[in-house]
């Protein structure tokens, strides 16, 4: 697969989060950023098509709609 390189400047807070997420998911930081892009595209595509995305709390079945502005 063709790959293109870019330099990504992150704040300490963002880099810490990236480190923590990569460690907790057992993925490299590059793999995590790629996965985040895939999920972001998947969610925005659904919203643009008129679908709704919900987060449900199992204990109360309370649903919160994910809104992207």
């Amino acid at each position: 697969m063709d790959r293109r390189q870019m330099t990504l400047m992150l704040s300490d807070k963002e880099m810490t989060l990236l480190d923590q997420l990569a460690a907790s998911r057992g993925m490299s930081k590059t793999a995590l950023v790629r996965q985040a892009l895939r999920l972001y595209q998947s969610v925005t595509e659904r919203l643009e098509n008129g679908d709704k995305v919900f987060v449900e709390r199992p204990s109360t079945l309370e649903k919160t709609e994910l809104m992207m502005l």
Binding site: D2, R25, M27, A31, L32, R38, S42
Partner: protein, 205 residues
């Protein structure tokens, strides 16, 4: 853009020898033409003769209405989807995967995995559909390709898939994948592949 991933050996039942085949990521017009001109006529002809899901399973044509061309064109625009083809002259197998899947079994619950949306071998390679199937092992090559993608994506080989009824025993008994039972909405058994199962699958020739 279509990319050659590598060469594999495909067992030719007619000559009882191995032929060189290629595995590609992303389908192109050659695959679409093979599907439209070679696969579809065979699937449509046999599909027209069956009148129930059970008969379609017996004839090995449950995928007769899968729109590979349309799905591949959508997949080419989505980061979360990838298509693959095995070619040996003609297109011998096709696969569509989703990279946004998550595990369900306890050992990998909520972990990222590759979900195999569609996987099919060419009609002339299928038992029940033709008297003498040509190539053996196309499905295994595609599953191994999905595991490799899972590893490359940082998912450590984890996979998920729903199986057509006639393939359940292969996934359960041959491939040794975990059968989570009937997924009622889909009316198919759901299987998952753990990190250890993926490793064992790749090591098993």
């Amino acid at each position: 853009m279509k990319e050659l991933l590598g060469q594999v050996d495909l067992y030719n039942r007619e000559s009882a020898s191995y032929d060189k085949a290629e595995v590609y990521q992303e389908l192109d017009q050659k695959n679409f033409d093979d599907f439209d001109q070679l696969w579809q006529p065979m699937l449509a002809k046999r599909g027209a003769e069956v009148h129930s899901l059970a008969e379609a399973a017996n004839a090995n044509v449950q995928d007769a209405r899968w729109d590979w061309v349309g799905k591949a064109k959508v997949a080419a625009m989505m980061m979360g989807q990838e298509t693959f083809a095995v070619e040996c002259g003609e297109t011998q197998g096709l696969m569509l995967v989703n990279l946004n899947g998550f595990g369900q079994i306890e050992v990998q619950k909520g972990r990222e995995l590759i979900y195999i949306e569609l996987l099919a071998t060419a009609p002339w390679n299928r038992h029940k559909l033709v008297a003498s199937p040509r190539y053996k092992g196309v499905g295994r090559i595609l599953i191994a390709t999905a595991i490799s993608l899972s590893i490359d994506s940082g998912f450590h080989g984890r996979l998920g898939l729903h199986s057509l009824p006639q393939s359940e025993s292969w996934y359960r008994d041959e491939a040794k994948f975990t059968d989570l039972g009937l997924d009622a909405p889909k009316r198919m058994h759901y299987f998952e592949v753990t990190v250890d199962q993926a490793k064992a699958f790749l090591e098993d020739k």
